[in-house]
């Protein structure tokens, strides 16, 4: 393996999620963007993807945003997956590593989706143990992202925002505050998005995510918001983002787009808009 220098820390600016369709344009044209985030699951083999990542990390700070650790699984995290992630972290030396407050796998079946946890003391305990194991193995703290959810469990006893805060307090992990997810879940379940934002411990928030979602309408007039990352950030989420920046200060912010990925110029435009909102906020928490 070529000897690589560590990528820099993630700046408190706007970055974009890098997906395969943009590998070449980013590696060759090096568009002006402060940082990039990738899913480690796309780089766990060899060949072309890893070649691109090695090339791209020489020019940009990189964040690894996992979707496969299944931190909420009652039977623990998959050792093989953790080992693969660890190898990639050692190779890329990313500025940030993050995962989700969700689960995907049980009993050896991996369902490739971010499934909702019940917010109970038991789930909190299991999640914290899994996060601690991951942090120990990766020799660093990770950020944990709040999910978009389409259901709630009857036996949940803790509001999601308190659950998020408790996870950070118990494990020392940071919070990846996905503003779009807060908005989607708030609409779907009828809670106050701003109250959620204000309940998160400011010092723990190390990154913000922004993305588009879809309003799915049923014939009888009912509707639900689906977090499909397939469009521009909607106006309500931009307003909530401005409030988040006002509350948390300047935090690295990422534009995510996974469905029908558009030309990179669209992502750069969205990032520029986020940058404008960050610039309006003078407090730089990373410098505090």
């Amino acid at each position: 393996m070529a000897h690589l220098v560590p990528t820099g820390p993630i700046p408190a600016s706007a970055g974009i999620g890098l997906r395969f369709p943009h590998h070449r344009v980013v590696a060759e044209d090096k568009p002006a963007i402060a940082w990039l985030e990738v899913h480690p699951e796309n780089y766990m083999g060899g060949g072309k993807p890893l070649e691109y990542l090695d090339a791209i990390r020489r020019s940009y700070p990189i964040s690894l945003h996992g979707v496969g650790l299944s931190l909420g699984s009652a039977d623990g995290v998959d050792e093989r997956h953790l080992a693969r992630l660890q190898r990639l972290v050692e190779r890329v030396e990313p500025g940030l590593v993050s995962e989700h407050l969700s689960w995907s796998a049980i009993g050896g079946s991996h369902l490739a989706d971010l499934l909702p946890l019940p917010y109970t003391e038991e789930a909190l305990g299991g999640l914290c143990r899994n996060i601690e194991l991951v942090q120990e193995r990766l020799k660093r703290t990770i950020l944990v992202e709040n999910p978009s959810t389409y259901l709630r469990y009857r036996h949940s006893t803790i509001p999601e925002w308190e659950f998020m805060a408790a996870v950070a307090a118990h494990t020392g992990c940071g919070i990846l505050c996905d503003v779009n997810n807060i908005y989607v879940s708030a609409c779907n379940h009828g809670f106050d998005a701003l109250r959620y934002l204000h309940a998160l411990p400011r010092e723990a928030v190390g990154e913000i995510h922004l993305a588009g979602h879809t309003l799915r309408k049923f014939d009888d007039g009912r509707s639900i918001r689906i977090d499909d990352h397939g469009s521009r950030v909607c106006p309500d989420v931009w307003s909530l983002y401005a409030q988040a920046v006002e509350h948390f200060g300047r935090v690295p912010t990422l534009i995510e787009w996974d469905t029908d990925v558009p030309p990179i110029t669209v992502l750069l435009e969205e990032a520029e808009r986020a940058e404008g909102i960050l610039d309006a906020e003078l407090v730089d928490v990373s410098a505090a």
């Binding site: 393996m1 699951e41 766990m44 083999g45 060899g46 060949g47 072309k48 890893l50 979707v67 496969g68 650790l69 299944s70 699984s73 009652a74 039977d75 998959d78 093989r80 997956h81 693969r84 689960w103 995907s104 796998a105 049980i106 009993g107 050896g108 079946s109 991996h110 369902l111 490739a112 989706d113 499934l115 946890l117 019940p118 109970t120 038991e122 789930a123 299991g126 389409y150 259901l151 709630r152 469990y153 009857r154 036996h155 049923f218 009912r222 639900i224 689906i226």
Partner: protein, 258 residues
């Protein structure tokens, strides 16, 4: 059993089999019923995995059409859900599944096309290992040649197919109607070796003799035994595997019966 473990098992059972409703009682059904809420998760997980399978099996997708592919993929996913989050590893069971899939019976070559595409995908995603060089081989004491065993590069797949699946896959993915018309299904069985070299993934047809020889070479048989009943051009075949980067390492195993 822990309440969380029980819930997660019931949730998975419901996603894999809609008729399993044990988890419904645990879900608040205001506005949308539990079944409708779970269907959102089911749709996401099926469409994510179907998209992953379509990336791996583009020729199968074109041969059967989108609707057929989606239906076959959904059945495969229910029968064989992924065992890890590394989805490049997912879908090896598709060829055998298609071989037993009643609606695919009229396309007897389909499982072989899937086998071929799986080999391409496995080769593309195999871990990075530097290939064995002629210089490294030249350092071996000739006295040890008889006990020499080779290890294939992790990207190497040797395939024995009944149908010319390589030709079918190339023609269908390039949309070349003329090439498709030229496919002669009686042109088989055939032996292929697929690997990822300096120029990317390539596949090569081998003569029956060379196929058997390369299969044994890649299985790590010692050189002395390999050469006992080898084709006359065996040295050239070994040299070709070396220059193409299909060999990753060697070891010298002494004191074993050959």
């Amino acid at each position: 059993m822990s309440a969380l473990l029980e819930l997660q098992q019931a949730f998975v059972a419901s996603l894999l089999c809609e008729a399993d409703r044990a988890v419904h009682d645990r879900i608040i059904g205001d506005g949308l019923a539990a079944a409708e809420r779970l269907r959102i998760y089911r749709n996401t997980f099926i469409s994510t995995l179907t998209a992953a399978l379509r990336m791996t099996y583009p020729a199968v997708d074109r041969l059967v059409g989108r609707e057929f592919f989606d239906a076959a993929a959904e059945q495969l996913i229910h029968a064989h859900p992924p065992s890890s989050a590394y989805l490049n590893e997912y879908g090896e069971a598709f060829a055998d599944f298609l071989a037993a899939f009643e609606p695919a019976r009229t396309l007897p070559y389909l499982p072989d096309v899937a086998r071929f595409e799986w080999a391409l995908s496995a080769a593309a995603n195999a871990s990075d290992v530097p290939p064995l060089t002629a210089e490294a081989l030249a350092t071996i004491d000739p006295a040890h040649h008889a006990a020499l065993r080779f290890e294939p590069h992790p990207s190497v797949r040797v395939l024995a197919l009944d149908y010319p699946a390589d030709q079918i896959a190339d023609a269908v993915t390039s949309g070349n109607q003329a090439a498709m018309a030229e496919v002669d299904l009686s042109n088989g069985p055939l032996g292929l070796v697929v690997h990822r070299g300096a120029n990317g993934v390539e596949s090569q047809r081998l003569t029956p003799e060379a196929f058997i020889f390369v299969s044994r070479l890649c299985a790590g048989e010692p050189l002395a035994r390999l050469l006992q009943d080898a084709p006359t051009d065996a040295p050239a075949v070994i040299a070709e595997q070396l220059t193409k980067g299909r060999l990753a390492a060697f070891r010298i195993q002494q004191g074993k019966s050959l």
